[in-house]
């Protein structure tokens, strides 16, 4: 009894890894770096994380968690409230609907998918900011931010893949693959 309780706690803790890891990535993007113009092109690490977990372990990062992550990012970065939840939920929604396509595909295809989805997400991010600030923002930095984010996908996803070994394999993925009666 005692042991199963511990096991259950352990499983809960490990299933929280995708959420907590994404929050850590949000915090990391806030750390000031002594790199020229870094604050302007700071990579959207949370987007990488959301995309990664939705494709590899969709059950462990529910939309509500994605919403909360986006809210944290808005609150800390000073962006208008609600922008990042929309952007991250967009990434979540598109990646979730296409996850069967990405299933067991090569890394390059997954990366290509990230490029496309994050491009749309960056556009939406720009449009929402422009709308809420009441001005068309011309921002070449946004293009660089997009490129930096795409370029950082391989190393960040490598780290996340290492972490994925800790995360419990949810039963629902097994169930979903069993053909119905």
């Amino acid at each position: 009894m005692n042991e199963t309780m511990l096991q259950r706690l352990d499983r809960y803790a490990r299933s929280l890894v995708p959420f907590s890891m994404t929050v850590v990535l949000v915090l990391l993007t806030m750390v000031p770096m002594p790199i020229p113009s870094y604050a302007l092109i700071v990579p959207m690490l949370s987007m990488i994380s959301v995309y990664y977990w939705v494709i590899h372990r969709p059950g462990l990062l529910p939309p509500a968690a994605v919403f909360v992550i986006g809210l944290i990012q808005d609150l800390l970065s000073g962006a208008p409230l609600g922008v990042y939840p929309v952007v991250l939920l967009l990434v979540y929604g598109v990646a979730y609907s296409q996850r069967r396509f990405f299933f067991a595909k090569s890394f390059l295809i997954v990366w290509w998918g990230f490029l496309l989805i994050s491009f749309v997400a960056v556009l939406v991010n720009w449009a929402l900011h422009s709308l809420l600030l009441g001005a068309l923002i011309s921002s070449p930095a946004a293009v660089f931010q997009f490129l930096v984010t795409v370029a950082l996908y391989p190393p960040v996803s490598w780290v996340l893949r290492r972490l994925q070994q800790v995360v419990p394999r949810p039963a629902e993925i097994l169930v979903a693959n069993v053909p119905g009666p």
């Binding site: 806030m30 919403f67 929309v86 921002s139």
Partner: protein, 292 residues
Amino acid sequence: MNYDKEGLIRRLAVPLKGLVQRFTFLSLVLAAFGLMLLGKADTLMEQRLRTVAADVIAPVLGVLSQPVDFIDGVLGQLRELAALRSENERLRQEVERLSAWHSVARQLEAENNSLHELLNLNPTPRHGFISARVIADGGGPFVRSVLLNVGTGDGVAKGQPAVNGDGLVGRVTESGRRSARLLLVTDLNSRIPVVIESTRLHAILAGDNSNQPQLVFLPDEGKVPVGARVVTSGFGNALPPGLPIGVIVSVRGRTARLRTFVKWNRLEYVRLIDFSGKDEPSDAGGAERAAP
């Protein structure tokens, strides 16, 4: 029979689950849009939310930014070590040059004081300073603001300007108990009354999220000189006059661009200027300007 029932439940449950998931997803997206509207309509609530979040996270961010500062410091020291000789020579020359300026400044200060006395001018009040460390700077391309590790507990209040050794950095827009948000002068929402030092032309410094903010509302008369220094004018009494901001690098029509003195990628510490008794000088300033 039993198998049938189970099959039925499964056949119903799967699409139902999908529906529920889709419903939650859509309602979350709607909630996010609702937040945007709410943030626009009720800025006070938004600010309160932000300050609470920043207060909670500030200690974590303070710790996270420590190693970066440390490594940067070590690298900086190594670089300085390499350039020690030439730096020493340069500083020696600068001291010579500045000591001449120092005596000039002393003379001018004495002269200025005696003239002030003659005119019976209101003295500019002395200000206090609050030193703060920048702990978060991740706004991305659309927002230029940073978080500081000081708050109302340290005497920080909304509206206080922040300077570093180079010049004006920005103004406090929100202040929590132990954290504060600083809107940089380069942000799209930043508007600062300034004056061109050599020609005394007044203008507004407007950020546009790039590293080089714009001067707008320049008056028609007078030429805008490239290379001239721009400082705060102190109009509206939101900022003390004379804080250096930058030099003009390009002029196009009635707008000009500034290269700021502050280096935006090296923003580690700032000093917040604490004006206490802010209302009284405001009246005095008005009277001063109205007087012939």
